[in-house]
Symmetry: C2
Subunit: 462 residues, 2 copies
């Protein structure tokens, strides 16, 4: 629930087999921030078949992060087929006409690399981290599975059981996860972000070979993908290798613009309450639909990022200082804004009571902090401090090779450009106190919010 | 918010230009119940091009009700195109290659008939009530506009302005209507019933000629339509006329089964609150997703109908007797079950406080009535009385020629058959007290409900 950096932020919504974040932090320790990859060094070009390529030089260690991002996420799924984007992420690890099932993974393990994949509302990505001399092999495997997967009924059935079990283990057994799904289904009245990335159980059960083949043929193609290579390589080498591997893959169908259903005007205040015997300490969150970097105008996304930082970004924020440090009524409290989305996204505040305090006290105190900003705005001094913290967090996120690759991949598959990313720190620095006050007043309307409450059973509480 | 008869019940969800209900009541006064059309006299057959035909003899007066029901409603709309089903209902009144705009309406008016149309989640229907000698002319006009509409950009633009104005006038100016939309969007987490029949404003604004033409070509065809003729005609004549008119229309594309996204398991209690300066007396409702006649198993739909009657169907119901008659805390209160839907539907209880009573008191009292049934069930005596009231209401609904035609049209476009309708009274009579208790316990779970509150502004209340 932190809002510090994109590489962290989108992990909230992805489905991933292993913890990418841990991995990112491990990699980041190998070199000092002074040598970190710079936005100004980033190179980009396009293959003849329409595949975008981004190269992020990083010569601190003999390591390369190779990622392929497809512009297909759960929000692009056909109605009734929820979960197919994530299901397809799994299917990509099956056998192809050129490689037996498991051969790719065995190869990465053999050379001491790491490999995984993840799916979000807006993208599906695959990556390997290996030594630079293995880059061509990785590209060759990755280009192969872009087109040559073998999708038999047996493959489908086996892997469908795997994702169903994943849902059972990660969602069905977790009151937090189940509540979170229904909060999203309530918050977004029309946008597909209302549907869980992993899919609704009853729809996942019906996913079949025909669905999978149609999905593969439509979305897994070079002209719907972004290759991101970060590491100890030079642009010329990457270009030559990309042309030799991905360049050989035929272009897929021309896809229409990714225009998904958008939100109607919202007019109500909503609550979503879940009581569960597994809950001992209650917690709550409150969310609003707000613009993303892709949908925002007039610097509103940057202002929302700064507002989130001032209001509830870490221990120096207003909410944390008031509720956790000063009055001590909350054990945790903060705010988050998830800006890296193709469509309108959410702004969330959250908290959990401590000691004798009730959940209503926590909510009332957070609401009061929002009202203060709406009424009085923020001071120049806290604005500067918050922007500095925010930009430092950006720099920190860019310190890790995979973090940098993630930032570029997520941005380029959600409507931003390499130029947008390079200019981002300056755009954050340009946010004014008036803009912060204005977005708070415009978007954090209590009569348009969706609050979620996770509570113990009624008897346990009374 | 009454639940007495289908012909009444579905008017809650339709968009209609004139009040069909008033018209139905007017017609019903021309003859006595003893001569009313009987389910056992209903005849049905299919034209070679796949059009279903249902004939309901009714010789009480020289009148015929001619209806064409298309198996296309708002729940069948493509994502992002909300409102197109209802928009198309409007477009059907435009000119064709054979008739100038307005010619059909002028003809009906000239012969002293009545004409209108309506759209629901599951169907779109067009009807004329005329003297029997005009039936062939009606069929001829109706068959013509099934295929020969002229859809120019100008026609689209003009009529789009009309439906946008309809939304502004009927929804945007009504707090009740706006709240109702957001309750549905919250209650149904996945099913298309979550989207308003009239459409979201921002999507209606984008409807265009290409959308309309694709919609027309796909759904307006004899093999996707049901012709219902009720009145002073005989089956042989209707058959001959139908073959002469509709029989000449070419079959349309074979459509896949109407399988729409269905609800996931729900795990939370939700509220939707709207405060508005135009509200003087607060009101509330609480809804649950329950099976419809089409999705129910083991007589659950019939049991829900009887439960609705016992709990809150009219002045003899438990809720009305307790809240309005006995304690007097409510000015209105009741329950409704809308069973005539293709997919899962809703069961709703509602109430408004009277005098000094607050909305919480009304809600608490209704919740207590539900708990009593879940705990103690219903008595044999009230079960019998409720079933008798319900069946009498059915008979009353069938007394009107157009009411009877409506019941058949709605049933046949939502997965029921002529046989189902004939057996319906017996199936209601077979419902047991145990079944009523069982559906109350299974479906009216307070932790899975969605409550809606319509309130005056905060300052006005305090």
């Amino acid at each position: 629930m932190t809002s510090i950096a994109d590489a962290v932020r989108w992990t909230r919504h992805r489905c991933i087999t292993a913890a990418l974040l841990t991995f990112a932090l491990a990699i980041s320790s190998v070199a000092s921030a002074a040598d970190q990859p710079k936005d100004s060094d980033v190179d980009e070009f396009m293959l003849d078949n329409g595949m975008e390529v981004v190269i992020i030089p990083d010569h601190r260690a003999p390591v390369v992060t190779h990622m392929v991002w497809y512009k297909i996420g759960s929000a692009d799924e056909p109605p009734g087929k929820s979960g197919i984007a994530h299901f397809f992420e799994h299917l990509m690890f099956k056998g192809t006409t050129n490689h037996k099932p498991g051969e790719f993974m065995a190869k990465v393990a053999e050379i001491g690399g790491q490999q995984n994949a993840f799916t979000s509302y807006d993208y599906t990505a695959f990556y390997e981290t290996v030594s630079p001399d293995a880059l061509e092999t990785m590209m060759s495997f990755e280009a192969d599975r872009m087109r040559n997967l073998i999708l038999t009924d047996d493959v489908i059935k086996t892997e469908r059981d795997v994702v169903l079990e994943e849902r059972r283990a990660r969602i069905e057994t977790s009151p937090e996860a189940l509540l979170s799904e229904e909060i999203n289904a309530t918050l977004y009245q029309n946008q597909p972000y209302r549907i869980p990335v992993i899919g609704w159980m009853h729809e996942m059960e019906q996913l079949n070979r025909a669905d999978a083949v149609a999905f593969y043929d439509r979305y897994y193609a070079p002209n719907n993908a972004v290759l991101v290579v970060a590491g100890d390589v030079d642009a010329q080498t990457v270009k030559a290798l990309a042309e030799k591997t991905y360049g050989k893959v035929a272009r897929g169908p021309d896809l229409p613009p990714r225009i998904r259903p958008t939100e109607p005007e919202q007019n109500t205040k909503r609550t979503v309450t879940m009581r569960d015997a597994r809950v001992s300490v209650p917690s709550f969150q409150k969310s609003w639909v707000v613009p993303s970097y892709h949908t925002a105008k007039d610097g509103e996304a940057e202002a929302l990022d700064v507002l989130s930082e001032i209001l509830g970004g870490g221990t120096m924020s207003r909410i944390y200082q008031e509720l956790v440090v000063k009055t001590g009524i909350a054990s945790s409290a903060g705010a988050s804004y998830s800006g890296t989305y193709l469509d309108d996204t959410s702004f969330t505040i959250y908290g959990a009571p401590r000691g004798e305090a009730g959940i209503e006290q926590v909510e009332t105190a957070i609401d009061a902090e929002i009202r203060k900003i709406v009424r009085d705005g923020v001071t120049e001094s806290e604005l500067e401090k918050a922007k500095n913290r925010f930009v430092r967090a950006m720099i920190f996120a860019r310190d890790s090779q995979s973090g940098m690759a993630n930032i570029y991949g997520a941005a380029l598959t959600t409507g931003s450009t390499v130029k947008d990313l390079a200019e981002w720190p300056e755009r954050i620095k340009a946010v004014t106190a008036d803009q912060v006050k204005a977005v708070a007043a415009k978007y954090l309307n209590p009569d348009r919010s969706v609050a979620g409450y996770l509570l113990p059973p009624e008897s346990a509480e009374n």
